[in-house]
Symmetry: C2
Subunit: 343 residues, 2 copies
């Protein structure tokens, strides 16, 4: 059954009023908020209908109505009019990126923190590694008599290192040999294609050196895997404690969000411009009172990760979504710029 124009307006008004006040919305109050003149009784009959259809919920008989997640869904999908950003708001977001450290990991981490302070929500920034990322450089560096550091630089600017203890004496000659070998065989290679098989084949090629260098090749494989898995930064989880509507479950929610694989499965997009998961739409019951909003960002024209936030169901979507999108765009541009990754 389709919603009539008046019912749409009423639903939208209920959602917006509820977002503002957090209280169940009654017909009398609503009558004053609508742009057209109808009596509370009329509104009541429409509200009864919206309730029947599942757009509204009723905490108890003598209270007003609260939008159900279906109501929010309808609002976000078709009723909401996004509020465009003002010049000042743009400037404010721009100023969040006072880049001190161009390291992309740090940048993502800092971005998550800034966004969390700005929105008063828990935020997540993630990077997915595009399929085109290659190994730019591998370097073995002597760190002690039996200790070396393997440093890997990827073409998207990500840098990782790993310490390895060796069971042989590290000499300058060995270092030079290995670096030449590793860069010849691995430099320029697509990170996703560095498999255990390939590592094994390299190990065989090394012949007599195989025994001493295999641990390093394994370390390289692990570094590739680490880079390929991307990163997830959660920030400002404690901000969720500000919302007492998220009742006692915040603890479970925060504990849950500390797990990387949860974040990974939650903050995944499939080509949408943005995505909102409202309350009970979430799989996990810890998120039943929260909404998750996310949007992708692009680096050099390619999708490079996700920027998202977790807040109470009752957040100002019409405001937060354009803000988040602008934030993601700014982040993407900055990364594109820093790492000369223009298309």
């Amino acid at each position: 059954m389709k919603l009539s124009e008046r019912k749409k307006a009423i639903l939208a008004a209920i959602v917006e009023t509820y977002i503002q006040t957090g209280e169940p919305v009654g017909s009398k109050l609503l009558a004053t908020k609508l742009s057209f003149q109808v009596s509370p009784a009329t509104i009541r009959s429409d509200m009864a209908w919206l309730f029947e259809m599942g757009y509204l919920e009723q905490p108890h008989t003598s209270a007003g109505r609260v939008p159900s997640h279906l109501g929010f869904r309808e609002y976000i999908d078709s009723l909401m009019r996004c509020k465009p950003l003002t010049q000042d708001e743009r400037r404010e977001i721009d100023s969040l990126f006072n880049v001190r450290n161009p390291d992309p990991d740090k940048l993502l981490e800092d971005a998550a923190e800034a966004l969390s302070d700005y929105t008063h929500c828990a935020t997540v920034t993630s990077s997915i590694t595009p399929k085109t990322v290659r190994i730019r450089r591998v370097e073995m560096i002597a760190a002690g008599q039996n200790t070396v550091v393997i440093l890997m630089i990827a073409s998207n600017g990500v840098i990782r290192n790993k310490i390895c203890r060796m069971d042989f004496q590290v000499t300058e000659k060995l270092v030079e040999f290995f670096n030449k070998f590793a860069n010849a065989r691995l430099g320029g290679m697509n990170i996703a294609t560095v498999s255990t098989n390939y590592i094994n084949s390299l190990s065989i090629v090394l012949g007599e050196y195989s025994r001493i260098f295999t641990p390093l090749l394994v370390a390289i494989f692990e570094l590739c895997k680490e880079i390929n898995d991307g990163q997830y930064y959660l920030s400002g989880g404690t901000k969720l404690l500000e919302y007492n509507e998220l009742n006692i479950l915040v603890r479970d929610l925060l504990t849950m969000l500390e797990k990387r694989d949860i974040l990974q499965s939650l903050f995944t997009l499939e080509g949408e411009d943005f995505r909102v998961i409202i309350g009970k739409e979430n799989q996990s019951m810890e998120l039943a009172d929260s909404s998750v909003v996310m949007t992708p960002y692009n680096v050099g024209g390619e999708p490079a990760g996700t920027v998202g936030l977790i807040g109470p169901v009752r957040i100002d979507y019409a405001k937060i979504i354009p803000h988040l999108e602008y934030f993601a765009k700014t982040l993407g541009d900055l990364l594109t710029d820093t790492f000369e990754l223009h298309q």
Copy 2:
């Protein structure tokens, strides 16, 4: 005024019972818990005295008594008998250190997490950089046409890198030159003595190269500073939400603990074996209902950092202190071992 033996026993019993139950302790219950036989009335008169002297507090007239922070202090300083660890407990702590990554940063971070899971408290692990730490190696690595990575390895196993964008073309020759130069001038140098002045003097020595290399020298200085400042890892802050006696202030507490300088000033020891700050003894009112327990750990015979935890005032000090000390010892031994830093 000195405490008589009986008063000591009563105070200790009150503290221990309160730690167990979390409820105010009454004279009747107490009479059953004491090792000697006295009537509740006798206990009451002693309790009245302890109350007068400030060792006990009274939530309201008709409730039992609760130890004040002075009472806890007396208990911890002179009444408490630490419970030695069982074989099983030792094994359990040992098993927390299932080292995957010997990187000392990761190790500290993992240790904080493991300790937090084990104790159900928020935990902090920190490393202070001993005055004897030297630069083991500096390495400039080309990462792109105009981008280089500076990698620094310190003698205590800490590794840091920094990305620098240069305004000149990075050639192999320049890299080689700089690495030779940097390691000759900086290798083996005490990290604490790398000052802006020294960096400036190096810059002058470089003569015509000065212009292009100065940004790298600055990066090196910053890396030294970073390493010298040490690290602080907070873990399991959300564990504090389990204790509802920490009432609504947990939010402020957690927000506060996110600030590095707060942690830094809080987790500082001055040669003690362990240190406990109880409730209101803390400077900040966010910590008024919490206790902070910390103990140092040694690497290669030298103090290398702090292991600490934050929990409700009512934690089992007699158990937690030896556990924390054993944990710190294990952590220190492991780090000593990994980085061959035996004295």
